[in-house]
């Protein structure tokens, strides 16, 4: 999958590692989750109604089209959450947590 975003500056920041859908990925300290993901891939999630791929839209916490989840079931807006080393993220809501 090609990456959607490209880094144009600030490339020499410290590397951090997090887990997305069980796979370890590399990001830079200070990245939002959205940037950590979209500099590697071309989607963040799938729409709940037609399963179409989505990759955020407003980047300012308004559209809610960038939701991802922690493995513990906490929903996060990827555009306004800073990626932290060791975070465990899923891009689909963990099924056993949906009907709590």
């Amino acid at each position: 999958m090609p990456a959607l975003f490209r880094r144009v500056a600030e490339k020499d920041r410290k590397t951090i590692h997090l887990f997305v859908d069980g796979h370890e990925i590399e990001a830079r300290e200070g990245d939002t989750l959205l940037v950590a993901l979209l500099t590697r891939t071309d989607r963040l999630r799938h729409n709940e109604f037609d399963a179409s791929p989505r990759a955020g839209f407003c980047l300012m916490g308004a559209c809610q089209d960038c939701w991802v989840w922690t493995e513990a079931g906490e929903q996060l807006r990827a555009c306004s959450t800073t990626a932290q080393s060791g975070m465990r993220i899923t891009t689909t809501e963990v099924p056993w947590l949906i009907n709590r």
């Binding site: 090609p2 959607l4 975003f5 490209r6 880094r7 144009v8 500056a9 600030e10 490339k11 920041r13 410290k14 300290e29 200070g30 990245d31 939002t32 940037v35 979209l38 500099t39 071309d42 989607r43 963040l44 729409n47 109604f49 037609d50 179409s52 791929p53 989505r54 990759a55 955020g56 839209f57 407003c58 980047l59 300012m60 916490g61 308004a62 559209c63 809610q64 089209d65 079931g73 906490e74 929903q75 555009c79 306004s80 800073t82 709590r100």
Partner: protein, 456 residues
């Protein structure tokens, strides 16, 4: 209630200057900021470990941005600053906030809302394709994260931000494939008279266009957007119709789109402030007097969340709203201060109206959107479904249409689709857009985490 604090919501140019003025008068306001760092959207700060200088981030506005940031740092010991905190509702005792997953109620004696604005969006077939962002988003990616939304983006829409963002991408090495503006050159000339009140700002805009043209970026005026094309669920081109009616296409790997701004007015609505239809900006907004007073005695508004006049006006309006609060609570305010601010704002008003005339909201596009165009991106409600609400189901206004076919029901609460949906409804019923009203706000105005705990 005497001891309850004054709350300022938002820490952009308006919120910061409001807080500053309150502190000058000896108050200790609570400043609630949804962002993790002060600055708002326009003067949004990069994370602390980023190194680019202010000139790189804010261009011609670097000095203003730096002043706003350093002034805020000076304020910090004198205010109760709550970053990363969203006001999501209103209770009898105060404002409901959430930070991470902790809910709190913050009582207040007066509140100044400086909630800012988001991009005003006109949907186009294909706009939910990954790689499509709002103009504001394209700018935030660059400014706050040093990322481009693509290597060869198209910027489409209208307004000064269109050229500023395209220019910023050019400078960052992601040369735009084209800039597509729905406003024609003749329309832009018509707005020029009002805009002449701020020659420096116009000159900057002209410079952005000239730099883009010199770099070989095609600037098309008076276009009609037709579609964002995709291959493998990824933006591949934009199709439009030019002024002569010819079909045109440009290949690209990303799109930044926006047609001016829309005010964030949900909190004023929850607080039961009266609204009015603003014919200049063609949208509903809370009623404010020239000092920022609403129809509710304890609620004040400032910045783009009240009137779309940009960052410089927001600074003045923030200070003015704080003066109004102080005056209304028995402080003495020097008339010269408010008179000076009114003068500044009169220029901004003229300029704002000129801009709205030069880069008008292309309401007419709503009527010709194909029925299968997604309008609500939360729930994939199409233009056809809104038209069904207008016709077969006979919904006379937005809230009825929402109840029947769900536009604006999704979790963004119509922030992205609401204004366009209203245009579609109005066009289908052949009435002016003001007659279909506006979506009523419901709390929570932003979705709450599932596992909230109430602060004890």
């Amino acid at each position: 209630m005497v001891d309850q604090p004054v709350i300022v919501i938002g820490a952009g140019p308006a919120g910061t200057r409001a807080a500053q003025r309150l502190v000058q008068a000896g108050l200790r306001p609570v400043v609630i900021d949804e962002n993790d760092r002060q600055g708002g959207q326009i003067y949004r700060r990069q994370p602390e470990n980023f190194r680019r200088p202010a000139e790189k981030l804010y261009g011609t506005e670097a000095a203003k941005a730096t002043a706003l940031h350093t002034d805020f740092e000076t304020l910090r010991p004198h205010i109760d600053y709550r970053p990363g905190t969203t006001v999501w509702g209103v209770s009898e005792t105060g404002l409901m906030t959430v930070r991470a997953s902790t809910v709190d109620v913050v009582p207040f004696s007066r509140v100044i809302i400086a909630a800012g604005a988001t991009d005003r969006i006109m949907p186009v077939p294909g706009w939910t394709t990954p790689g499509t962002y709002s103009l504001g988003a394209a700018q935030i990616a660059l400014k706050a994260q040093a990322c481009a939304i693509g290597g060869r983006p198209v910027f489409m829409g209208t307004g000064p931000l269109l050229y500023l963002v395209a220019w910023q991408y050019l400078r960052a090495g992601a040369t735009p494939a084209a800039v597509l503006d729905t406003s024609s050159l003749t329309t832009r000339l018509r707005g020029l008279r009002g805009m002449a009140s701020r020659a420096r700002v116009v000159a900057n805009g002209v410079r952005y266009m000239a730099d883009l043209a010199r770099a070989g970026v095609k600037l098309h005026a008076g276009i009609t957007p037709l579609a964002i094309e995709s291959s493998n669920s990824h933006v591949s081109a934009v199709t439009w119709r030019d002024t002569k009616g010819a079909l045109r296409q440009v290949a690209c790997d990303a799109v930044g789109m926006g047609y001016g701004l829309r005010s964030e007015t949900q909190l004023a609505d929850l607080l039961k402030c009266e609204f009015m239809f603003d014919p200049c900006f063609q949208q509903w907004r809370p009623h404010v007097d020239r000092n920022g007073r609403t129809t509710r005695p304890d609620v004040y508004l400032a910045g783009d969340g009240a009137l779309l006049r940009g960052a410089d006006a927001a600074e003045a309006a923030g200070q003015l709203a704080a003066c109004a609060v102080l005056h209304d609570t028995g402080h003495t305010i020097d008339q010269h201060e408010t008179a000076g601010l009114h003068e500044t704002l009169a220029v901004m008003n003229r300029f704002g109206r000129g801009l709205a005339q030069a880069f008008p909201w292309p309401a007419h596009l709503a009527a010709s959107l194909p029925d299968d165009t997604v309008v609500c991106r939360c729930e994939n409600i199409t233009a056809g479904e809104i038209r069904r609400a207008a016709g077969e189901l006979d919904a006379p206004e937005m809230n009825r249409a929402k109840a029947l076919t769900r536009p604006g029901m999704g979790r963004c609460q119509g922030r992205m689709c609401g204004l366009a949906a209203a245009e579609i409804l109005a066009a289908a019923r052949e009435v002016p857009v003001r007659e279909v009203g506006r979506l009523r706000t419901a709390a929570p105005i932003k979705p709450l985490p599932l596992n909230c705990t109430v602060k004890s």
